[in-house]
Symmetry: D2
Subunit: 281 residues, 4 copies
């Protein structure tokens, strides 16, 4: 069964849902999931619509052409994805293994609507982890940052990577690298953003004496830790927790938050609008 998933946003007006569902129905599709939201504050309409495309009376190009016409009349941004065209994912990491294991295991267990095809690191420590899961590992040192980013960009291009996941990748990407990939790089920050932006958030949390620590998965933008948030989670800490305990508890948060965000993205449940996300969960 092939499912087409359409993400749409546009200024709200009457008849959009009717027009879109009628389009699907008229050509022989069946809607399997429709989630829609019209924001009273911003006047924006957002929708996620999945339909079973067996027996659809338009081919994929035909659908795109028809959608382009519809989109024009509603001033619509849209993305269309097919369940049999699985995104290819690259995971960037450094030395911390927990997020990498979690993502690779999720992939192996069939939990992701995409395929991790590449692990990239500026160190060699995690090469055996990639090997264990039979995923190619590429070592790109970051001593010369410009050269590293050029190599990374070339690799992503060659491997037709649709999503980059920063799994505790301890390097800051340049605006030049980020800009053409907006909405296609997910990072895990080890705090409950916007609290504790920047370096050593667990040390900051300990110093401030908070009673909960958190993790935040977000799209990377040119401004550090300021991109649209996809998913957040927290866990309780107390005075008994040293910074090391927080780091340990944080690992659990980081990996589950990151893997959830990647899952949501790959299932096309995340729509970016105005530096925020709409998550159709």
């Amino acid at each position: 069964m092939t499912i087409a998933t359409l993400l749409v946003s546009c200024p709200d007006r009457t008849g959009i849902v009717a027009a879109m569902s009628d389009f699907v129905f008229r050509h022989g599709g069946n809607i399997v999931d429709l989630d829609q939201h019209a924001d009273a504050d911003t006047g924006q309409f957002c929708m996620r619509l999945s339909f079973d495309a067996r027996g659809f009376r338009l081919d994929r190009d035909g659908i795109r052409a028809a959608l382009a016409v519809l989109a024009k009349s509603y001033d619509m941004s849209w993305e269309l994805a097919w369940s049999d065209e699985r995104p290819r994912v690259a995971v960037f990491c450094t030395k911390a293994p927990h997020c990498l294991y979690d993502l690779l295991l999720a992939d192996k267990l069939g939990e992701l609507a995409g395929d991790i095809v590449l692990v990239v690191s500026n160190h060699r420590e995690l090469e055996p982890v990639a090997a264990h899961f039979a995923v190619p590992f590429v070592h790109i040192p970051t001593d010369d940052k410009a050269r590293a980013e050029a190599a990374q960009a070339e690799l992503l291009e060659r491997e037709r990577i649709g999503l980059v996941v920063l799994a505790r990748y301890m390097q800051i990407l340049s605006p030049a690298f980020v800009r053409p990939r907006l909405g296609r790089i997910i990072n895990i920050h080890h705090s409950f953003l916007p609290a504790f932006v920047g370096a050593k958030p667990y040390h900051q949390a300990k110093a401030r004496g908070v009673k909960l620590i958190g993790a935040t998965a977000h799209y990377v933008t040119e401004e550090l830790d300021q991109g649209p948030i996809i998913e957040q989670a927290v866990t309780r800490v107390s005075h008994r927790d040293s910074v090391e305990d927080m780091i340990r508890k944080g690992r659990e948060l980081e990996r589950q938050t990151l893997t959830r965000a990647v899952r949501l993205h790959l299932e096309r449940r995340v729509l970016i609008t105005d530096n925020r996300t709409v998550v159709f969960a």
Copy 2:
């Protein structure tokens, strides 16, 4: 602005969303919220659709007639509610005040899409609470249970009550009372059902040594504590918590879980199907 909210369930087939959204659109309505679910296991389609009915080109009777026709062709169960026809709610209680306060305060703060117009109790302890919130209080003793239920039924009828909330009402209602009110009586049970059915769940929880205690809001059916679950919550306990501590922590759970369930019901977000609920939250 008057909003119409339609809850629909039927066997899944192609074209339902298109038919319904087209119906709204053709008569001049604008969909403000649509949430839909087709269950792969049961083959059942469920939908909640809200539309702005200003300028709708059918009156309420006309809409009902038109929906009845649509419903027939899709073998559909449906309910239609109008935001300006607010349900009238009766709260049944005994002596414990916490859930009653929570509901009355939520009402006073405008958090509910309905109006609490009646407090019914088999004791007089909570009469001042009702008075404080200017809600009529009716004392119906339950020494003679049959007589009590007759008086309650008559009262609900006379006051055109659409929802009965059992806010720690320590009486078991007879099947004869419950049967004609299926889906219109909400109870709070002070455990995480199906764990600890029946009496003294906190004592049971203490004896079993669980690490979390819970509360469950559910529709009342003829079988005790077996009705469709609307909402559940849990909180952490430890060996330090005596039964009394659990009762105190439980109060917080009970009232927030019950008030949430009542809010969801009144906003027409709950659809019962097959002794379970679909909650469009």
Copy 3:
């Protein structure tokens, strides 16, 4: 049964627990609860020790004298409280009723180890709430802030108030008012501090697109929203939640977080050290 509770902090060294427990034992007390923490990072020792003082062979003055001697030899800060000397609590509020109801109901249900004896407000809206719970209400307008604080200070003095609770009291207290009451004023801030310091945190949260909102109960210090945190909680939000929905969800968080913090304080479970708290929970 009279319980004495001792809170102690000092530089860590060997023998403190032995010295303290021996002191209790030698004079005929029985330890009912002892919780102790030696912080590896700061080298500080903190302890909460409760003992049953029936049959203790020193009177209260004698105990204080003996503790003063012990304290000197260990360079100890300490506080001693008796379960039969219940702190007198004043609640400051403005117009929002939810935290006030929660505190007054907790008091009425016997959940607090102190007594709310006073409600102070710069408006009259909540006077009926205080009256309903039979707690004196004092209206102190804040047009002239200096005069208001003088009146408040005089009132707290006269009523021998041991704890001030700011239950969504929308006024900033002056350093002159705060300084002599450090550790004796608890505020509820409607965000997960340190995120969203200052005004309108729910609007800030909506703008940033966070997936969880929070509340923080903390002691008031001279710097706004920077005092030692006692308790925090969060709840999930999504794009569907308008600022108004966040405010409603926030009410639930605010009141439960504030009431918990007040309960912990009154049970002498909170020790302030270095602008952080140790909570023996």
Copy 4:
């Protein structure tokens, strides 16, 4: 630094803490952590006491002899553990890899106060996982259950295993195997016990329509799913979650709950009393 940790339970009476802390102090130890609880309902006293044993003026045998004397006068059950005598752990599994990965990674990251030295399975699927973490893997088929348990028992004996972890091991152990290992076998059950005892708990949860699913780590006793609970966790589900979704969400719960329970056990934070646990966390 060598830490000794003492777990003690006995009937409550005056002077126990004083006697124990004095014992530590007199011989030159320093208490680094003391957590104590006297249960008002059962009259039982429980304590966990850790002390730095450098420079202690008794050797380990001497300490044991002295403790035996103390224990006699207080009718005390006790266990003493040394941080440099790390328990040896065996993980039993079948085919599901998620709990095994989590435990092995926690071990590798130094998060456990014990060493996983053995993976035992009735299938060969997870042999590469053990190999990847360089832990010996032993395949013991369970076609002949009595023979299998004899082989397992012999292996545990030979390898001096102090803790057996059932990491989604789909076999029921016989009373004869369990009885001599009470308090030394931890299982993960994939529901919030006591809800959904027995097989296929996620199917049961789906059928009942609960809004939260859970996982429970408990010591194994002769009665299935009835042993003392160490740790529990829950996560939210909705009508959108199929049984497969619940299984996926459940994996996250199972592994984190199991790993936490194992960590708590290995840090000697769990005391069993009366088919319940006291967890000094």
